[in-house]
């Protein structure tokens, strides 16, 4: 009886530990693979602009067929990265994801809005504030992050406005 209780306890403890480790590791693995692909196609701190998704596209999980995406792998190791977008017509939004897939910032932008973000380590915020007074400073939890821009294509036959809106997205190092 005691042996069976002990074995059951060990199995439950192991299952719990494996479960927690899996839940912790999977986002890191998925984002790692995703970041590697982006780095391989466009490099770091450069906007990747894939075509309108079709059912065969799986670079972004479950891409929406009525959205154009702008994706940028951001690396703050060498300094703060500046992200700008807009003003642009139509509905669009920007989101920043941490290295472990946590969403760290998102904004839905009106047509006339211009978004300016600085992603970096806290220590450089003060010096950059004078250079970029209109920017929102976001403290990067890790050195790597991913920017995902979404631009609504109301009519798939006429994506020009969304393409123009997406073209306003810029990622650049500040130092």
């Amino acid at each position: 009886m005691t042996i069976w209780l002990r074995r059951t306890g060990i199995v439950i403890a192991l299952a719990g530990a494996i479960h927690l480790a899996t839940v912790w590791a999977i986002p890191w693995l998925i984002v790692g693979v995703f970041a590697q692909r982006i780095a391989g196609s466009t490099g770091i701190n450069t906007v990747y602009t894939p075509p309108l998704p079709s059912p065969r596209d799986h670079l972004v999980v479950a891409p929406s067929p009525d959205l154009l995406y702008a994706i940028c792998l951001l690396d703050t190791a060498a300094g703060t990265v500046r992200i700008t977008a807009g003003p642009a017509a139509g509905y669009w939004s920007l989101a920043l994801y941490d290295r472990n897939a946590d969403n760290i910032f998102r904004t839905g932008a009106a047509a006339d809005a211009k978004v300016e973000l600085l992603l970096g380590r806290a220590a450089s915020a003060g010096t950059l504030a004078a250079r970029f007074p209109a920017a929102t400073y976001i403290q990067a939890p890790h050195e790597t992050a991913i920017l995902l821009g979404r631009f609504l294509v109301a009519d798939r036959a006429r994506p020009e406005a969304a393409i123009a809106a997406r073209a306003t997205v810029r990622c650049e190092k500040t130092e």
């Binding site: 969403n103 806290a122 003060g126 504030a129 004078a130 007074p133 209109a134 976001i138 403290q139």
Partner: protein, 301 residues
């Protein structure tokens, strides 16, 4: 990644504060719960905390917090948070002391009248009276307005009231997680309902009812997001990426920029509402408080 301290602290807040506040507010219990323990009120050596009684003025109590030596040309007027229905200079003493240290100037912490006994605009009247009093009693000092949460919104509303009253403007405004929109129109109110470690939208709505009484939610004295922000001094605004009030801060910052105001905005991920209040525990809090020092050195020297 957020620090392990912040991760644990957010978990603890979820299990205590957020679980308790489910849409109803027990004012007496909140005030009793947040009465500071003696250890929190301990004054470090080299610092002085003096109560100020301003007889004949709308507000009845304030504290002057000062280390030595400090700049003679600056003072901080700090307005504490607490949803406008609890909190005091004592509950926020650690943060106020940190503000005084970073500004290198004495801080004056106001015990403004609270809702529901004194709904809006009582707190703003008290804050304006304190500003006038501080201008008269410390004429050589420029004043930095600062506050957190409700106090952050109050500091911004006060900056507008100071301008409207024709008084000399403050040198700057520093707001931690400011509550600027009683109409609760920010997308983060719903988008962050789950991720916010402290509040639910229902609890926030209940607090607006206490504070507004008969006022509309878009009255600029209660919601500075709807105020004319022209002529305000430089603003430093902090928001947690995951908190309900994130967009209260960001929408106000955007509007201020459109009015030509210099605004520095910081968004920090993985931290609770008003994380600098817990700077003794959280490295993110200490980093943000240090940002205040850099900002004030830049805009006031």
């Amino acid at each position: 990644m957020a620090s392990w301290q912040s991760t644990l602290f957010c978990l603890m807040l979820r299990w205590t504060m957020k679980r308790r506040a489910r849409g109803t507010i027990d004012v007496a219990a909140a005030r009793a719960h947040f009465t500071p323990r003696r250890g929190v009120l301990k004054v470090p050596s080299g610092w002085q905390v003096r109560p100020l009684m301003a007889a004949g003025l709308a507000f009845d109590h304030a504290e002057r917090i000062e280390g030595a030596p400090m700049r003679g040309d600056l003072a901080v007027l700090y307005l504490h948070g607490g949803g406008y229905f609890f909190g005091s200079p004592q509950t926020h003493r650690q943060l106020i002391m940190a503000m005084a240290r970073e500004a290198d100037a004495p801080a004056f912490a106001l015990d403004y009248r609270l809702a529901p006994e004194h709904p809006c605009p009582a707190a703003l009247e008290d804050a304006l009276a304190a500003y006038r009093w501080l201008r008269l009693s410390e004429p050589a000092r420029r004043i930095v307005l600062a506050g957190d949460s409700a106090g952050g919104g109050l500091a911004l509303a006060l900056a507008c009231a100071v301008r409207d009253a024709g008084l000399p403007p403050p040198a700057a405004v520093v707001a931690f997680s400011p509550w600027t929109d009683m109409a609760m129109t920010g997308p983060s109110i719903t988008a962050n309902a789950e991720s916010c470690a402290m509040f639910t939208p229902e609890a926030l709505r209940a607090a607006t009812r206490l504070f507004l009484a008969a006022l509309p939610a878009t009255d600029p004295r209660a919601s500075p997001l709807y105020a004319d922000l022209t002529g305000l001094p430089p603003l430093l605004i902090f928001a947690g990426a995951d908190e309900l009030l994130r967009d209260d801060a960001l929408m106000l910052a955007d509007k201020a920029r459109r009015h030509g105001i210099a605004v520095e905005t910081h968004v920090v991920a993985g931290v609770p509402h008003v994380w600098p209040l817990f700077a003794r525990l959280l490295p993110e809090g200490r980093a943000s408080v240090a940002e205040v020092g850099r900002f004030l050195a830049r805009v006031t020297r």
